[in-house]
Symmetry: C2
Subunit: 344 residues, 2 copies
DNA sequence: TTTATATGTTAAAGTGGTTTAGCGCAAAAC
DNA sequence: GTTTTGCGCTAAACCACTTTAACATATAAA
């Protein structure tokens, strides 16, 4: 017993395939109420489900949105154990699904073959998370698809952008640390790239220090990569700079690593060193002490991204650059500055 | 300029479409070496990429494998912020991709509509993570697809299974706690279901206690749900049973919550209470103290699942039940039992 | 009344692959 | 020496939808 097709529905309800198609897709030149009723009845009776492959072939549109995330360093595996991406993706997927679209995941790392796959399937649009080597953006442009970049500052009219005001957010975070009386504040961060968010966060950090007339010591800036391991390693370096009493990490994952590294060195947090994160990933409340951090509302941001994309795909007017909100979350990893013995 | 099709390749290399198709798909009745060369050349020159929709329509196979994971409780969002699923998925995806397949993610929760989507797209097989209401399995069977269940004990010839030896793993974990001298050992767990892994882990736990002639106190079993929040809540209940000196959690996520809850109550870990986890998700080394746990090699398990599936799809012989290995990882959350003041 | 416009519907022609059936021709088997 | 087998290749039909063009009929406008 083969699968029910649109043809079966047409025969069962005594109309042409085209009328059925019109009803299913809710097209302008609507069928009469009676016809619609008949057809819907038949669809229900015969348990008809449209075949997406046929639909996609005929219309060269797929109701699929490609979502690009990074691969792990050398494994070529989706960087899903980074909760930032995981949470963002579940946000994107849910909103996409609500709008009748489907998410197609693709990783990008040493190779871009995953993008080929995406193009084989005729995706309708692209949402790209994070930042990649230059070349990728050219490749993206050749695909001639509506493309939304999340958290990047690539300048090109082809792309739409979604991000927070990274400069302002870092400024606010640093100010919070300053307000707690800290004067020697480190920045622990991933790689600083011209077209990335971190450069803006660095600017916000510097701006806050300057406004408070604090020295901007380049030795207080620890640049590595976005990950737990780097945070752990940074702990040692940070301790070596023994005046530092607080650290602002540009990602919670780094902050979590920093916490672990500091613990290993026998430091108490926040008594010895205050740690501030960024993102508010789920892990930030699982570490000890729970992280004070900048909430990005990651899932919500993902949903906004998806909705922007579906608007684009339905030719609605969409701003080229959209900003989402940020909010400080106060937990237990930051405390007021207290003079330490060796500072006396 | 329209996309290059197989027809273009056929014309360019002076053969029929069918010959091109045969070469591309590497089919039995091979073309002559010369023809193959000509065709491959044309493919490269014209930058031809097969259209998957067309291929899928014509062959009613899609090179796609549906992967089913749970939705969040009431949000209908993919449960990706549970690192267990996130890690498993990146394993599945990478192995699938290496075999030329593509992963299609679908969530299941209050509704199963996501499964419809999957069937619209003609997926070739199904990998199902975790455990669901009875009804889902009937639905799964009606899809008449090769189906691999990960971590479930549903009895039905239709399904293939992949899991660890949950009983033995829990036995080993509990024995480790016993070997450290603990006598009053709690089990903190998600819901115990007839067809789930937890029932087997409970059995292993009980078996270890029995073998060591320890009392099996039902008050030492804390049944809730698999999640950080439940772990936190369980901490209070566990403390109320003041003889308990160690807890075996059936998931790292629960263990992480337990840690947080115990901290909040001023407990020291492992000095006051030892905590053992299960899974070895990435978070287990981020919490404080780092979790001693049972490693499931989640990513590897995902890869094994994917390889089983592709074997199934290529009609290779496959065992109906496959077991993966488990290994204890000793970190800092378990210590030897020490007599406490109030136990004197 | 005639003409224009909109509505509801349809038949036929794609969309880009694969499946099926079969055709020459050469080598192997009888 | 004839028949069988297998190889390399092809033409045509088909997969389940959408696009296009067009045709009645009803209603509104001139």
């Amino acid at each position: 017993m083969a699968r029910t097709t649109i043809k079966d529905i047409a025969e069962a309800s005594g109309v042409s395939q085209m009328t059925v198609s019109n009803v299913i897709n809710d097209r302008k030149s609507k069928a009469s109420a009676a016809t619609i009723e008949k057809i819907n009845q038949a669809i229900k009776n015969l348990n008809y489900r449209p075949n997406m492959s046929a639909r996609s072939l005929a219309s060269s549109a797929s109701k699929m949105v490609g979502v690009v995330i990074p691969f792990t360093e050398n494994q070529n595996q989706l960087l899903l154990d980074n909760p930032f991406y995981a949470e963002m993706i579940s946000g994107i997927e849910s909103a996409l699904r609500e709008q009748g679209y489907y998410m197609m995941l693709a990783g990008v790392g040493e190779s871009n073959v995953a993008l080929d796959v995406i193009s084989h399937w005729n995706v309708d649009g692209l949402i790209v998370l994070g930042i990649y080597p230059e070349g990728l953006y050219d490749l993206l442009k050749t695909m001639k698809l509506p493309t939304l970049l999340i958290d990047s500052y690539i300048e090109d009219d082809h792309f739409y952008h979604l991000r927070v005001d990274d400069d302002a957010a870092a400024f606010e975070a640093t100010n919070y640390l300053i307000a707690q009386g800290h004067k020697n504040i480190a920045l622990v961060t991933g790689a600083i790239r011209e077209d990335g968010v971190i450069k803006r966060r660095l600017a916000g950090y510097n701006r806050a220090l300057k406004q408070a007339n604090l020295v901007q010591n380049p030795d207080y800036i620890f640049e590595g990569s976005v990950g737990f391991a780097w945070g752990q390693k940074a702990a040692d370096k940070l301790i070596a700079q023994n005046k530092i009493t607080a650290a602002f990490c540009t990602a919670d994952l780094i902050a979590a690593g920093l916490l672990a590294g500091l613990h290993k060195n026998g430091k108490q947090i926040p008594q010895d060193i205050s740690v501030m994160g960024f993102d508010n990933i789920s892990i930030s409340q699982m570490v000890y002490p729970a992280l004070t951090t900048m909430d990005q509302e990651i899932v919500g941001k993902g949903r906004i991204a998806a909705n922007l994309m579906t608007s684009l795909l339905t030719k609605k007017q969409v701003e080229r650059e959209v900003e989402t909100k940020v909010k400080i979350i106060i937990r237990d990893s930051v405390s007021k500055f207290k003079m330490r013995r060796d500072d006396v």
